[in-house]
């Protein structure tokens, strides 16, 4: 059995922690995360409010717990959108040679030329700011990276003997893609998904910060940062806690991605 590497363990623990926090928030948070309580606004961290309260008197810890749901939800949907579009495109580009394959990949390059945030802001401006718009925009912006990685993996698979044999036996391209290519690029998809997840978390935070993401009062780490701007001098903790949460989540998913890549990539395994 392959040895578990430190990145994978650390990343796995962090991501599991965030997932557990999000799940727990469905059944329990210290306080109602959206309940405005003017009497307890801007309280310093204490035993009753571990991370203090914001200008609406809402408990910061409860908001971070509920905000993790938004983060995970956006990540899952954005990566889902990217994978559902990017994986078939990558496999198609690898299997269909000559100009159709080239058209797919150059179209991919064109999309890659657009910065993800700019694309998401354009989406937000046209379709209105919402979690859904942010998710879809981040997902579409992540399509090129999926398509590129999967294409390179699929090209390798296409040269293997079992695929050549299947083609010689007269198998149609679609069954080959489904039965031979897709299962052999699953590890690549997993690695790419966890790296894209980290990017999606950061992008959602940035979009919410700019007002193009999750609308209030649904807690979102990015919007918590935005709302804390007024208090950067008087109550910097309001920016620090969601900032740390975003940093940890991004670190967790990146470590997980690194760990998975190390585990799945045989060449790296040999080098160890």
């Amino acid at each position: 059995m392959k040895r578990l590497n430190p990145s994978l363990i650390a990343g796995g623990v962090i991501v599991a922690g965030i997932v557990v926090m999000a799940l727990v928030s469905f059944v329990w948070t210290p306080y109602d995360a959206t309940l405005v309580s003017p009497a307890s606004r801007l309280l310093e961290p204490s035993w009753s409010h571990w991370f203090g309260t914001d200008k609406f008197g809402r408990d910061v810890l409860s908001q971070i717990m509920v905000g993790s749901r938004t983060t995970l939800f956006v990540g899952v949907v954005a990566v889902g959108v990217a994978a559902v579009i990017g994986v078939p495109l990558g496999i198609l580009a690898a299997m269909v040679r000559r100009w159709p394959g080239e058209v797919i990949m150059r179209g991919n390059d064109l999309l890659l030329a657009f910065p993800a945030l700019l694309l998401a802001i354009m989406f937000g401006a046209v379709f209105g700011a919402s979690t859904l718009t942010a998710m879809v925009a981040i997902g579409i912006a992540s399509v090129p990276s999926f398509a590129r990685v999967i294409r390179s993996g699929a090209l390798q698979v296409m040269r293997t003997e079992y695929v050549l044999a299947a083609r010689a036996a007269g198998r149609q391209p679609f069954p080959i893609a489904l039965r031979h290519v897709l299962p052999n690029v699953t590890s690549l998809i997993t690695v790419q998904a966890s790296v894209s997840f980290a990017i999606a978390v950061l992008a959602e935070a940035a979009l919410s910060f700019l007002g193009y993401g999750t609308p209030p009062p649904t807690p979102s780490w990015g919007r918590m940062l935005q709302e804390s701007q007024e208090f950067l001098f008087s109550a910097p903790r309001l920016a620090i806690f969601p900032g740390i949460a975003i940093a940890i989540a991004v670190l967790g998913f990146n470590l997980l991605g690194d760990g998975l890549r190390d585990r799945f990539d045989p060449k790296l395994e040999d080098r160890r």
Binding site: V36, L110, A113, P217, Q229, E230, S234
Partner: protein, 503 residues
């Protein structure tokens, strides 16, 4: 392998697209980073950018804020205390039956298209309100039966019935004087007789005004004034701290005010405004036709707590649609005091409890902030509230204001004496109340005492009927470089008078 032509062509297209994108962002970055410049230039930071420059066809307070009194002038205007004083009219007389107004006009005013201002332009402007204007405010001119030029400098206006309101309305945007040959491109190239000329509009960023050196009155100090628009309250504050602007025209992050009060470089001005922050109800919906729903919502809101939470306690609780600077102001905060138990039972009785109401908010700092408090407080009273943010001005004006596709919204109504304009069946509040209209008509046609008396009754009626909920009155909060003089303490007119500013 050498790349094929098609590969290179696609690569070129991709690079061109990328360059276009970066060029766009670089362009906007350069303009927003410009410095206010020398002593003769001033930059003022504001929040709501106009949707158009034509207030004859487009609603919104941002247009007269910029243009009225600066580019366009009126026959009469309000001074700082709210008194009606001469402007393009040197003086005026009113006939004993209070139906005929005769104005003596200045003889040296010129429009920026070099045409002389005469009584014919005044007749043209007054008649044009009735024929070409499309905003609901034009109704204030319905009372005029005839406008006649007696000579190039004498204008006679005959009203169908005596009206206390008409002369006051002539100080607002409907009283703006246009040049007959200068109305072809109002949305982009306004032509007026005022102390400033419109220079350019960088959409999404700024409007530039330059001094009208041919102005007939005393010329303004500043050669150029740039009005810069910020969507983000903190960015607005930072722009002053970094010297990008010299004045914050309206502070949108009152919690952060301490960074200016404790700094000798800046002056903080705090006064009052006409800006009633209204939680508006769509009174055409069956749910809101039931007074118990409306009253329940009013009583579910703890206004003091709301003001403290969302606007740092700055502003004033008013309880109806009248600011304290109007002669018929009464403190009506006691009409529907915060009473959660009573609110719950009212909402239960009207069948509103448990229902989901859409709170469609414009993307303005006070609305976003107060919306969250309103949602939380109404949910404690048994309602469900779904917040929906609409980009301001375009999306909000179309969806809420024009199509009335909303349940509740929050917006500050900054027009002066706007009680009758806001609460009628044609406006987005869709509030149809013959009793209220009766008070307003009596106030308009009666003498001064009757006007005050009837408008007091109208304000009380609105409050008792809970036609909306008046969350608070916006304060006039301005921060400026210490060297800037002439900033108004109170903002009680539709315009931001730039001509009085100096250094």
């Amino acid at each position: 392998m050498k790349p094929s032509f098609s590969t290179r062509a696609v690569a070129f297209l991709a690079a061109a697209a990328l360059l276009a994108v970066t060029a766009c962002s670089a362009g906007s970055g350069t303009s927003s980073g410009s410095s206010p410049g020398g002593d003769q230039n001033l930059a003022i930071g504001l929040v709501a950018e106009p949707a158009s420059l034509d207030f004859t066809t487009t609603d919104g307070a941002a247009i007269p804020q910029v243009l009225l009194g600066n580019v366009y002038e009126t026959l009469v205007k309000q001074d700082d205390s709210g008194k009606i004083v001469p402007s393009l009219a040197k003086s005026w007389t009113v006939s004993p039956d209070r139906k005929t107004y005769t104005f003596d006009l200045v003889d040296n005013a010129k429009f920026t298209n070099d045409k002389q201002f005469t009584a014919n332009d005044a007749v043209f402007s007054i008649n044009r309100v009735k024929t070409a204007w499309t905003t609901s405010l034009k109704a204030a001119m319905d009372v005029v039966s005839q406008a006649k030029a007696l000579s190039p400098t004498q204008l006679q206006v005959t009203l169908a019935k005596p009206s206390n309101d008409w002369l006051f309305r002539m100080t607002t945007r409907i009283g703006a004087m246009f040049s007959e040959s200068g109305v072809s491109a109002l949305a982009t190239a306004p032509v007026g007789s005022g102390p400033f000329k419109f220079s350019k509009w960088n959409r999404g960023d700024s409007i530039v005004m330059v001094r009208n050196d041919n102005y007939w009155g005393s010329k303004p100090y500043f050669q150029q004034i740039t009005l810069k628009y910020f969507k983000d309250a903190t960015a607005l504050n930072n722009a002053l701290l970094t010297g990008t602007i010299n004045v914050i025209g309206t502070v949108q992050a009152p919690e952060a005010l301490s960074q200016f009060t404790s700094n000798d470089k800046y002056q903080v001005i705090e006064g009052t405004t006409n800006g009633e922050v209204l939680l508006s109800f769509n009174n055409s919906l069956p749910l809101f036709k039931d007074i118990r729903t409306r009253q329940g919502i009013r009583m579910a809101i703890d206004h003091k707590a709301l003001l403290d939470t969302c606007w740092a306690g700055r502003g004033k609780l008013i309880g109806s649609m009248v600011p304290p600077t109007d002669p018929w102001y009464e403190d009506l905060t006691g009409v529907a005091p915060y009473d959660l138990a009573k609110a719950k039972s009212l909402l239960q009785a009207s069948g509103a409890a448990g229902k989901t109401l859409r709170l469609r908010l414009p993307t303005l700092p006070y609305a976003t902030s107060c919306g969250q408090v309103v949602k939380s407080q109404l949910e404690q009273a048994g309602l469900k509230v779904a917040i929906d943010q609409l980009e301001f001005p375009a999306a909000w004006l179309t969806t809420v204001f024009k199509n009335a596709d909303y349940d509740m919204s929050i917006i500050a109504h900054v027009e002066p004496r706007d009680l009758g304009a806001v609460f009628n069946a044609k406006y987005y509040t869709r509030y149809d109340d013959p009793t209220l209209q009766g008070y307003l008509a009596a106030a308009d046609s009666g003498d001064e005492a009757a006007q005050v008396d009837n408008l007091k009754k109208a304000a009380r009626r609105l409050s008792e009927q809970a036609a909306g909920d008046w969350l608070f009155l916006l304060p006039n909060l301005m921060v400026a470089d210490k060297s800037v003089k002439g900033l108004p303490t109170n903002a009680i007119t539709e315009n931001f008078d730039l001509s009085k500013l100096a250094r």
